[in-house]
Every structure is written in C-alpha cells, then in structure tokens.
C-alpha cells in the first residue's frame, strides 16, 4: 500500500470525493464507510438517553458534593444557623430556668442532629412555617405527609429531586440540606422565645 493510495482510501472512508482515486480502492472504502455507519447506528444513543445520563450525573455530583461551590456555602450557612439557634436556645433556656423555672434543654446535640436523616427546623411559629413549606411543596407538585407528635410537627416530602432548578432553589431558600435519596423529613419545632 503506497502513501497516495493510503490517503485516497482514507479520504474515501471519510466521504471525501477524489476524481483521481483508484476506483477499486474508492469502492472498497465506500463500502466500508457504509458498514461502519450501520454498525454505529446500532449502538447510537439518542438525545434523550444523553439527557438522562446528564441528569444522573448531576444528581451524583450533588450527592458527592462536587456540584458547584454553592452547596458548600449553603451547608456552611445551615450549620451556622443551627449553631446560632443552639446558642439562642441555651441562653434563653438558662435564663428561663433561672427566672421562669422552665425545663432546660439538656443536649445541644439533640437540637443539631435530630434522628437519622431527619432535619430539624426551629421556628418561632411552627404552624406558620408548616403552612409556608407545604404551600411551596404544592407549587412544586411534591407530595408530602404531615404527622404531629406532642409539640413537634413532622413534614415528610417524597420525590424531592434536587437536580431540578426550582427544587434546588426551594431547598436553598429554606436552608434544607439536599437529600441523599429523594425524601426529605423535616421536624418542625418551636423555637423558644426570649
């Protein structure tokens, strides 16, 4: 195979017309071109498949904390907010114990963590907060359940897809941590008033 013939073959394979090429070489290359096109057509992924893959990737990147820098900021804010809330509660609790004989919250960590994947939301008016959150969930078309235990309100939302921009905005604005799965549990508790 000489260099010119090689180039003629490659050009024909790439679909380039060359009047000077050996007809046999050109014909073989053209047949191979067609064969490769058919072979590739059988393995081609559609645009929809690419978008599904991208969606999965975005979800995974968020879960692994590789999606943008805002989540770090958001998390920092969230822990800062919990730290502030814990400080306020402790201070108020101490004051109230001294002056109003109310029960002190024993464990700061109890406020910070909650149980399992549950996120604690401290609110001056839990009912109002619940109404605000459920109103937004309704707007987003996200299903939820409400359970009430003693003074606590448990809001369980299902199908929370953080990849969707409006859902991500909802989570961020309400300082709710991005779920690992697609379920969010919020334990809405009253924040003690000073």
């Amino acid at each position: 195979m000489n260099k010119d013939e090689d180039q003629d073959w490659l050009d024909a394979l790439a679909g380039k017309q060359n009047a000077n090429a050996d007809p046999e070489v050109a014909r073989r290359a053209a047949a191979l071109r067609q064969a490769i096109q058919r072979h590739n057509a059988a393995m081609k992924s559609g645009e929809a498949d690419v978008e599904i893959g991208l969606h999965k990737l975005k979800f995974r990147l968020r879960r692994e904390d590789l999606s943008g820098g805002e989540r770090h900021t958001f998390l920092s804010n969230r822990y800062f907010q919990f730290a502030m809330a814990a400080t306020v509660v402790l201070t108020v609790g101490l004051t109230m114990r001294l002056y109003l004989h109310e029960q002190l919250i024993q464990n700061e960590a109890e406020i910070m963590r909650g149980g399992g994947d549950r996120q604690i939301v401290l609110a001056p008016d839990p009912e109002a907060r619940l109404k605000q959150l459920t109103s937004e969930l309704d707007r987003l078309g996200i299903k939820y359940q409400i359970e009430r235990k003693e003074r606590k309100i448990l809001l369980k939302a299902h199908g929370v897809d953080p990849v969707k921009d409006d859902v991500a905005t909802f989570l961020e604005q309400n300082q709710i941590k991005t779920p690992v799965g697609m379920d969010v549990e919020l334990d809405i508790r009253p924040m003690a008033k000073p």
Partner: protein, 201 residues
C-alpha cells in the same frame, strides 16, 4: 457531529467546571453532551455492554470534575479527558478481570490475525450477496476482535482530524497516522473474501 473546531469551546466549558459555583453545572452539561456519546461509543467498541458503558461514562465525568484542578495544560485537554476515560475503562477491566484484545502483544496479535484470516478463507460469500453485505459482515467481525482499531476507523469515517484521533488513542500525531495505516492493513485482511464482489461488479 465530528469534534473538529471545538477546542476553544471545550476549554471554556472546562474552565467553567474549574470555576465552581453555578457555572460548574453549565460546564459539566456542555462537556457531557459533547463527549459522553463518544466515550460511550468507544466503550461499546471495546466490547462492553451498554449498561457498563453508561456506568463508566458516569464514573469518567465524576473523575473529570473531581480532578479538574490537576489539569496543567501540558497536554491538550482532549487528550487529558480521553486519558481519564480510558483509565476508567481499564479500571473496569481490572475489576472484572477481562482483557480487551487490543492489549495483545505483537506475537499474540499476529497469531490471532492469522487464525481469523484462515477461518475466513473457508467462508464462501453467499451467491446472491453484495460487496456491501460482505464488507459489513467483515467489519462486524473485525470490530468484535479488534475493538480499538475498529473505533479508530470509525473516527476516520466520521471526519475526526488526526489531532483528535491522537488524543483518543494517546499517541503523537505521527504515530497516529502510522497506526491508522496499520488499521487499514488489518481491516483489509478481514475483507479479503469480499474481493470476489469487486471483480464480479
């Protein structure tokens, strides 16, 4: 669409990834839409299943994002991306203890090729077949055995320039031209039985 005049776009999108923040998602999306189909096709040519190919594509992009700050610019960005793609594939082969045939040494290669050609000389082309049918059969056989080389031929067919093919196979442009020439020799040996159709035409 062949990846030809896209070096600047790729670099811009990659810079968005490195920038972080909201722009990172934009960069990831753009780079994924451009490269994921090519990576996926490469993996399929290597004999991977569709499901495994999808998984490795995902793994590749996670690594691209995770290690984006390690890209120094000493090599072209496309070569760096393809290196990650190939490494992820090789990790998969190591985990599953499968060895792609394109990793054969020259002696093993020659033996395999001789066996393949010998087998095919006993196959008589069907009487009412065409050159195109014969070539299609031949290429499909070739792709099963020599996935990497078949993929390179596919890139030539799609109009990729030497620089992009070089980035894919991790060789210099000169070595890539020689490699492509060797790919032609290999496929021509698989298409020997089809010469009958040329003389009959």
């Amino acid at each position: 669409m062949p990846m030809t005049d896209t070096t600047i776009d790729d670099q811009n999108n990659f810079n968005l990834i490195r920038q972080g923040g909201k722009m990172r998602d934009k960069g990831v999306a753009a780079l994924y839409r451009r490269y994921a189909p090519h990576f996926r096709k490469f993996y399929l040519y290597q004999g991977l299943s569709s499901a495994d190919a999808e998984d490795i594509v995902q793994e590749t992009f996670v690594k691209i994002v995770r290690h984006c700050d390690t890209f120094t610019g000493d090599s072209p960005l496309a070569a760096w991306l393809w290196r990650i793609a190939r490494n992820c594939m090789n990790d998969h082969f190591r985990r599953t203890k499968v060895r792609p045939t394109d990793n054969l040494d020259d002696e093993e290669w020659s033996a395999l090729e001789l066996e393949s050609v010998t087998m095919r000389t006993y196959d008589s082309p069907p009487a009412n077949g065409t050159l195109e049918d014969c070539v299609e059969r031949g290429f499909n056989e070739f792709a099963k055995v020599f996935g990497e080389r078949a993929h390179v031929l596919s890139m030539v067919m799609e109009g990729f320039d030497t620089a992009h093919i070089a980035a894919t196979i991790q060789r210099s442009p000169g070595a890539t031209r020689e490699y492509i020439s060797q790919c032609r020799k290999r496929i021509e040996s698989f298409l020997q039985p089809c010469k009958e159709y040329l003389s009959a035409a």
